[in-house]
Amino acid sequence: MGSARDTSYDVWASARVPALLRFAHLVIGDQQAAEDAVQSALTSALEKWDRVSRAHDPDTYVRRMVVNAHVSAWRRAGRREIPVAEPVLPHLADAADGVVSAGSLWQACARLPGRQRAALVLRYYEDLDYAEIAQILDCAEPTARSHVHRALAALRAELDQEDFHG
């Protein structure tokens, strides 16, 4: 491993790791699993750093790896509900009409298929446009739009049902 290569990686990593940890946590829903996913992604990125830094935006590469980890875990879990950390916040806001609890929304997100959840995080947390989301999810732009659309529809349906059942 050349020192120039290490330096280039270290500079990038020191600036980006906190944001990557936050991103991974939102996609995966668990601090430990998020750290594991980020570590694996960083390890992979460092191994291929020359190629990753030259041919890709390293951020895109690492975030794609994190999403893939989540999607794989979701598939391995037999598409069952994946346990997530209990939300700390009781509510997003006062229990006014139309405002769902933060816990309900977090849990509903956890039940989304991996790519749909990742698409929501990229869209509504990272504020990326659909072309950027498509690049990270390694799919076509219309597919990225579809992921977001389907995720929102699924959340609305689930939260409506929860509302209905009280």
Binding site: M1, P18, Q31, S40, M65, V99, A102, L105, C109, L152
Partner: protein, 361 residues
């Protein structure tokens, strides 16, 4: 912006603010630097596929004198050669992989209805790494660890998938015996190539074409000290000159002949440790046992002696007319590497749990 998307933004922001991004957390995610150790081997030999040639030479030597194919000079145990590769075998095929790779499962046929009927889907019961060479166990598998997979259920949490739309790999892997068609398939940025060796498939999936070629070039019929099939009652396996071969088998026809599931090698130091445990061990003659059929067993083969590990009502190790109960002391020297991944082992022996897979994976 509607209520839901606004609430999503707020929820994500609040959760993100709670994530531990401290310097300690950042240190925890530092890369593990799992170098692909085949490049130094290639460079040292001065030819592109030096590692392949080295593997072939070592393999043929093993065929001549029945020694382990990759007797290490530095590693205390495990069949790792000086280039940092190890040999993996399943049934009648073997292949060499970087020694950092873990062990896990492969997809299998999705058996439905009448015996012999399979659906068009593949069944994934743990096609990922479940154990790493440093002994780390992944309860739900690790999608990011390169690994060698065998068609053995790692978990009962299974999912089916369409082979035309396979899951996106997140790490390199080799599958032995997976029910895939021969040929090359692109999966995202990865290439998956399946070949047939002696009637068993070998599938290599990686985003590195040179690595794929190097691994595939090492695939060949099993030629190490552990035969592809062996009779439980009279294994007659000739072990290596140094150390001990560990050969795991399963199944068994009417003659009690089973198929090779996994093999590894332990050093002479491990053999000494085993010898001590054997001499201090307890014979089953002193224990009330009933001895039903066992359909998995492990052969431990030194150059002069064979031991057969049987997992019945008295999990024990047999050598000729003598035997010893399987205990932590008698298991620890050889139940290493992929043994805890692929050998179910005794039931109900909690003190032996860490050495074997157990019924529930």
């Amino acid at each position: 912006m509607d209520d839901l998307t606004l609430q999503l933004r707020e929820m994500f922001e609040r959760h993100a603010a709670q994530v531990d991004t401290s310097s300690e957390a950042q240190a925890r995610v530092a890369p593990t630097r799992r170098h692909r150790r085949w490049w130094p081997a290639v460079a040292a030999a001065g030819v592109v596929l030096a590692v392949v040639v080295a593997g072939a030479v070592l393999g043929s030597r093993a065929g001549e004198n029945q020694t382990a194919t990759t007797a290490p000079t530095t590693a205390p145990r495990g069949s790792v050669d000086s280039a940092g590769w190890r040999t993996e075998s399943w049934r009648g095929v073997q292949v060499r992989v970087p020694s950092e790779w873990g062990w896990g499962g492969t997809p299998t046929d999705d058996w439905v209805g009448d015996p012999g009927t399979v659906s068009d889907l593949l069944l994934d019961c743990g096609a990922s790494a479940y154990r790493t060479p440093d002994g780390r166990r992944e309860v739900n598998g690790s999608g990011h660890t390169p690994y060698v997979g065998r068609p053995i259920m790692m978990t009962d949490a299974c999912a089916t998938y369409d082979p035309e739309d396979p899951p996106q790999p997140a790490a390199d892997y080799v599958w032995l015996g997976a029910p895939l068609e021969r040929g090359i398939v692109r999966i995202g940025g990865y290439t998956q190539e399946t070949v047939d060796i002696a009637g068993t498939t070998v599938t290599v999936t990686t985003d590195d074409p040179a690595l794929r070629a190097a691994i595939l070039a090492t695939a060949r019929p099993t030629e190490g000290p552990c035969p592809a099939t062996v009779a439980q009652a009279h294994p007659q396996v000739t072990g290596p000159a140094d150390g001990m071969a560990v050969c795991a088998y399963e199944g068994g026809d009417a003659r009690g002949v089973g198929d090779l599931v996994y093999s590894t090698w332990v050093s002479s130091a491990a053999v000494e440790e085993f010898d001590r445990a054997w001499h201090e061990g307890i014979s089953t003659a002193a224990v009330d046992c009933f001895l039903p059929h066992t359909d998995e067993w492990v052969v431990l083969a030194t150059q002069s002696k064979n031991y057969v590990v049987r997992f019945d009502s008295c999990p024990r190790i047999v050598a000729g007319n003598a035997d010893r109960l399987l205990t932590r002391a008698t298991a620890a020297p050889w139940a290493v590497d992929g043994i805890p991944v692929y050998v179910v082992g005794p039931s109900g022996a909690s003190d032996l749990q860490r050495f074997f897979r157990g019924m529930l994976g």
